[in-house]
Amino acid sequence: MTARPNIDMSLKQWTAVCALDDIMPDSGVCALVGGRQVAVFRVSGDQVYALANHDPFSKANVMSRGIVGDLKGERVVASPVYKQHFSLATGQCLEDSTVKLETFAVRVNNNIIEVEA
């Protein structure tokens, strides 16, 4: 067996996707990041979140088009198809503990939103 060089295999990198103002407060957009579909949300107070855009229940790529809000203090987005809620912070589905959306690192740099994928 040959030894592998010790490099970071994740190959993740930051990608600028759009300006903060391209997203209306309390809504989302979908960004293409390294071939992945990422739903990026902006909530009031200009906090941003990034989750997989794929809705595991309907299997459609539409999470970015859900309504953003909060339930019992947790920031959530509701699937626009069958209305399950997902935590913006963790991707956890509130109605089904076995379902979780992938989350992505996201930051605002000089008013530009960047996602790591």
Partner: protein, 846 residues
């Protein structure tokens, strides 16, 4: 304790339920589970099998939670039947693995369809109806066939007949007994069911025993009957009963019944205490239970027993059934045939409407023993509860099956009368007590109850009762009547409407800051957006409103299951010029959209990607079309009949009136959608009495009906005014609609609004026709303001660069969503199913 090795044979609905029950009780450090299944896929909803032909895919039917086997560390061997059990060595061998050891073995092998051994029974083109694979071959065969015949007129046979009908075949049912569903129905019920099914175009042959099947003259098969008759057909589906899969047990010398079935005790143990049998393969007290609910009970009892809990025992199961066969309600419960000595019957038949109801009561007239309902099974849940819980019969038992006439008191059984042990959800054995406990523990919605108790999650038939219990319990807790919109607003929709109007509030943010808390959610945001639109009629895509809208309102189109949208231009009154028809055709062709005539007299174009919506609407608006608001809680259509212009019976211009009304109320936002209809005479071809607002022309003027509903719970409209002229008609409708908009609850159609309004239709008459509250002029003025400020949302959207920005899939790329894939069907597109997408991908990479 060392880990126990559990082997389960069969991953049907019951086997799967066992796995869920067991893993809920024992962790993967305690048990090591291996499952063998002969079928190529994990458990799916066999009960809903027929919906496969109505468009459900294999994936839709799955009953296995996402990632279940991985997370529970269960080894699942699909496509791998077990062929032998060695009880001595305590191992099983499958087609691919030898000597897999077990400490406990569970047989959940189900059953297989019985094929009567008539000569010719195994000719090509003869099928059974049990698994998704069976359906796939039937579907393929149906493509080359015109006539399909089902042998067997029981419950499953009729399901199979429905499937053949859905596949477009000329369908026949051949039944040996003198009536359909002989197990569940009596003579009169069976005959009525037969009439109704024949009216749907299925030919039923009863009292026919098939002697042999031979080559036909015009069709491949000729079924020859004992009475000398014959029937030619292209394909045959057997549905003549089921037989338990007990061969493995038999070979291993486990006790089986004389006529099949693996014998079990009250803990579902077979004659070998380390081997359990559950579901349709199991024989308890000489009986096989061909329904899923008893199987689920067995699954739980066996799982508990494996985990060392002996608190639950199997002691039989209720075989009551309620189903919809080709749209016909059929229910049978308890002692439906009146076999109890001394039992008495109450009967109600309505040959015109096709309804038959029978109550079987005890000789002393005190207890309900059973019932049969055909054509209308609305009372099923109530009657079942009454029979199961031995609730004393009311003074006049016949009232429970007689139709309620106007002025009559509503009948039915309040949920409060039920004892705590009343079984509410029979599929999942959930009692009233368990539901009440879950409510006490904090469930406040039907959805939460479903997750917590599983009630309502299988056939859904118990959902109305679950909701009633929930409401009753909440009311008791005092959470009740407050009717809060959601956790963000301690107000009802009606109260919020007043707060918005009185306070002159124009945005969600203002309302939340003044009267709510938190950030809002998908319940309150669209509701408030609708209130704002009803009050101020501002363009819904204004940035400040857009994030409030449900995706349908936000993109001014209905989202479909694959993330594409539909386009429904307004066609007022259903009247359309040839030029406009051609435009719709041309646009659909250009953008490759699927077209369908809707139930609302207009044309729906499906399959538009989000970025195509403005392009398509630009062409439609240029050709003079407007938004049809199919996406909004707003006026949908005003259906018309052709009326006096052409029809020899018409007494007024119903099309003209429909167009006038549709143009007046288009775009009107309301608590729920609104539909209207105008008929030109009492023959009522526009079905106006099934609409929120229905108008029927008479020689003396218009008759105005309100609060009708089709849909989930049909309701005939009530008469509000008779013989009125055009101006009065519009005035009354203005007042009626505004009154509803002000007082209706979120997502409450006019029908449920009226049913919950104190004083009912008489009160509405006073308010609308007699102006008893003195608000008539105000309501009319409010409406006039909305009418005057109407704008077509799509026209606005395509001319507003700010709104247009939203219509793209990616914020940072013009590419379309690659997950949207279509295939061709009947000359048009349709969304590809997941399995079709897979093959597409494989072909692309191959």
């Amino acid at each position: 304790m060392s880990t126990q090795k559990i082997v389960v044979i069969g991953n049907g609905m019951v086997g799967q339920r066992f796995l869920e029950q067991l893993t809920g009780r024992m962790g993967s450090d305690q048990v090591e589970i291996t499952v063998f299944c002969e079928e190529p896929r994990a458990a799916y909803d066999r009960v809903q099998l027929t919906s496969f032909f109505a468009g459900k895919s294999a994936i839709d039917l799955s009953v296995v939670p996402d990632r279940f086997f991985e997370e529970k560390a269960i080894t699942l061997r699909l496509n791998d039947p077990v062929i032998a059990i060695d009880r001595e060595k305590k191992t099983v061998s499958s087609a691919r693995y030898r000597d897999v050891p077990y400490d406990k073995l569970v047989l959940a092998t189900g059953s297989y369809p019985f094929v009567p051994p008539i000569p010719g029974h195994n000719r090509r083109g003869c099928y059974v109806y049990r698994s998704i694979e069976d359906l796939e071959v039937i579907r393929a065969a149906a493509k080359k066939s015109r006539i399909g015949t089902v042998i067997g007129g029981g419950l499953l046979g009729l399901e199979a007949a429905k499937a053949l009908k859905d596949l477009g075949l000329d369908t026949h049912v051949v039944e040996f007994a003198p009536r359909l569903m002989a197990v569940q129905l009596d003579e009169a019920g069976g005959k009525l069911l037969q009439r109704k099914i024949e009216a749907l175009g299925v030919t039923v042959h009863t009292s026919k025993s098939t002697k042999e099947i031979v080559d036909g003259e015009k069709h491949p098969h000729r079924m020859v009957f004992a009475d000398g008759g014959a029937l030619e057909t292209d394909l045959i589906v057997y549905s003549a009963g089921i037989r338990p899969h007990d061969a493995l047990a038999r070979a291993a010398k486990i006790t089986v019944g004389e006529r099949g079935g693996i014998g079990i005790d009250e803990y579902c143990r077979t004659s070998d205490p380390d081997i359990y049998a559950i579901g349709e393969c199991a024989l308890w007290n000489g009986r096989i239970f061909g329904l899923v609910a008893p199987g689920y009970q067995m699954a739980e009892i066996a799982a508990r027993h494996v985990a060392g809990d002996e608190s639950l025992r199997f002691d039989g199961a209720d075989m009551s059934t309620k189903l919809k066969l080709m749209g016909v309600d059929v229910a049978s419960l308890g002692d439906a045939m009146g076999k109890t000595p001394g039992a008495l019957d109450y009967l109600y038949t309505n040959p015109v409407q096709g309804i038959y109801k029978k109550l079987v009561v005890s000789g002393d007239g005190k207890q309900l023993l059973g019932a049969i309902l055909v054509g209308d099974a609305a009372e099923y849940n109530g009657l079942l509860q009454m029979a199961l819980n031995a609730i004393p019969l009311p003074e006049h038992p016949e009232d429970m099956i007689l139709p309620v006439r106007e002025g009559g008191a509503a009948k039915g059984l309040g949920v409060d009368m039920l004892p705590a042990n009343a079984l509410i959800c029979s599929c999942n054995s959930v009692s009233k007590g368990a539901i009440c406990d879950a409510v006490t523990a904090g469930c406040t919605t039907v959805g939460a109850l479903k997750t917590a108790t599983k009630a309502g999650s299988t056939c859904g038939g118990c959902s109305p009762m679950v909701k009633q219990i929930l409401d009753a319990e909440l009311r008791k807790q005092g959470v009740e009547v407050k009717n809060h919109l959601c956790e963000h607003f301690p107000w009802s929709r009606q109260e919020l409407f007043h707060l918005v109007r009185v306070g002159g509030l124009k945005t969600f943010g203002d309302l939340l800051a003044k009267h709510g808390s938190g950030h809002g959610c998908d319940i309150c945001k669209p509701a408030v957006a609708s209130i704002l639109a009803s009050c101020w009629n501002e363009y819904v895509l204004k940035p400040k409103h857009a994030p409030l809208q449900d995706t349908n309102d936000r993109f001014l189109a209905n989202m479909q299951k694959d993330g594409t949208y539909s386009i429904v231009p307004r066609v007022p009154g259903g009247e359309i010029t040839p030029e406009k028809l051609i435009v719709l055709g041309a646009v659909a062709k250009k953008y490759r959209l699927y077209t369908k005539i809707t139930g609302g007299q207009r044309i729906d174009l499906f399959g538009a990607r989000v970025e195509q919506l403005p392009l398509i609407w630009r062409e439609l608006v240029d050709a003079g079309f407007e938004s049809g608001h199919a996406y909004g809680k707003a006026l949908r259509t005003v259906k018309s009949c052709v009326g006096s212009t052409w029809c020899r019976y018409g007494v007024q211009d119903s099309v003209g009136m429909a167009i006038q009304l549709e143009n007046r109320y288009r775009g009107l936002r309301s608590p729920h959608k609104l539909k209207m209809g105008v008929s030109g005479c009492t023959r009522e071809c526009a079905e106006a009495q099934g609409k929120d607002v229905g108008i029927i022309a008479t020689e003396k003027g218009w008759n105005l009906y309100v609060c009708g509903n089709g849909g989930i719970k049909p309701r005939h409209a009530d008469l509000l005014a008779t013989g009125i002229d055009d101006a009065t008609l519009v005035k009354y409708i203005d007042r009626f609609l505004m009154f509803y908009i002000r007082t209706g609850d979120r997502l409450q159609r006019t029908s449920t609004w009226l049913d919950n309004l104190e004083g009912g239709i008489d009160y509405v008459k006073q308010v609308v026709c007699e102006d008893s509250l003195g608000i008539g002029a105000e309501l009319e003025a409010d409406m006039q303001k909305l009418v005057d400020t109407y704008e077509c949302e799509w026209k606005n959207a395509i001319n507003d660069p700010e709104s247009l920005k939203r219509f793209r899939h990616f914020v940072n790329s013009d590419a379309p969503d690659p997950n949207i894939v279509f295939v061709a069907e009947r000359g048009q597109i349709r969304p590809a199913r997941e399995d079709e997408k897979e093959t597409e991908k494989e072909e692309a990479t191959a």
